[in-house]
């Protein structure tokens, strides 16, 4: 075997070793790399309820209410829905029907209440989707959808 072939094999081994290690690492840490949980995850008990965590989903249409500084709205992943309470300023892109990621915890505002489905947020971030279009196109898409 020539020296060059030797080096080629070494580099090949290095690349495959690194990718194998990466694959295993990603598999092991997959859960920890989730930036947020979905309402379905909460329902299925996958979420560390005692601690602070993030939920993400779409703000349900016609669910937003504001009372002074307190906003309440429903976050849905189109399967399950959770109610979110937030005292603070919402980002510009916060809209009904758009994505949102909220940090907080499932806590009871008052003892003895059954509040499995109330999420008290300390921070709300808007999650933009991957669509970019001028307003005319958005209107056209919307009217096409409502015709269906």
């Amino acid at each position: 075997m020539t020296k060059r072939q030797n080096r080629m094999i070494l580099v090949g081994l290095l690349v495959s070793g690194v990718f194998l290690a990466g694959y295993l690492g990603i598999k092991a840490f997959s859960e920890n790399l989730l930036y947020f949980y979905t309402p379905s995850d909460i329902e299925e008990g996958k979420v560390p309820i005692e601690k602070s965590f993030r939920i993400g989903g779409l703000v349900k249409t016609d669910s937003f209410e504001r009372n002074g500084m307190r906003s309440t709205f429903l976050v849905t992943d189109n399967k399950k829905t959770i109610k979110v309470i937030y005292d603070g300023i919402l980002p510009d892109l916060f809209r009904e029907g758009q994505g949102v990621v909220a940090t907080g915890s499932v806590t009871c505002p008052r003892k003895g209440w059954s509040c499995k489905n109330i999420f008290t947020a300390t921070e709300v971030l808007a999650k933009h989707d991957e669509n970019y279009m001028p307003p005319e196109v958005a209107d056209a898409l919307e009217s096409a959808e409502s015709k269906e």
């Binding site: 080096r7 808007a126 999650k127």
Partner: protein, 245 residues
Amino acid sequence: MWKWIQRQASPKVFYQTCNRLIPWFFWPFICLLTVGLYWSLVISPADYQQGDGYRIIFIHVPSAILSMMIYAIMAVAGGIGLIWQIKMAEVVAKVSAPIGAAFTIIALSSGAIWGKPMWGAWWVWDARLTSELILLFLYLAYMSLNSAFDNPRTAAKSSSILAIVGLINLPIIHYSVKWWNTLHQGYSVGTGGIKDTDMQIALALMFLASILLYALLVSIKARTEVLIREQNSSWVQEEVRSLIS
């Protein structure tokens, strides 16, 4: 074929090729950048949700793609240098690193500027943003490792191994928005996420301009690097003398 490659990879021919290519990269870059910026800032319509703020993608997306592409080029050139011991591949890898790091910084900072008004946060530790930040650290580590040795061959050898190990980060960055829930949105390019033709054209122009900018910067920096490395050879001394006079 092999003979031809070897000839091209000799320092002198490589230097001359860089010299010849520079104007061919420079003028198309200027043209594409001018037209691309006009198309991005004037011709393209405003977005239905974000208004004019979305226009930052015309800088952000090309820089982010380039930051990953340049890393891949750097690692492959480093690998070629390791296996075939082609010195000019080592030069390309070395001079690519700071350019790639600059594109990474542009991608990260333009994203932060966009994120503050749109998301409500400059920075979040989601998988996409974190892996892109790791890419910046990889570039910085590569550069410091490369400059830690006096002998350019030893430097190229060890830093190339680092570059190849860091390759694993590229698929992680690319697929992060698919594998995990991230605050960063999913793919807009190639999925029909950008629905307006003018927006698509503007983005394509800016992407091509960025590639030309990279090619231009590599040629300029590689030229200098070759002169430094080959400073003891007679053709370099002649060349420098003719440049001075």
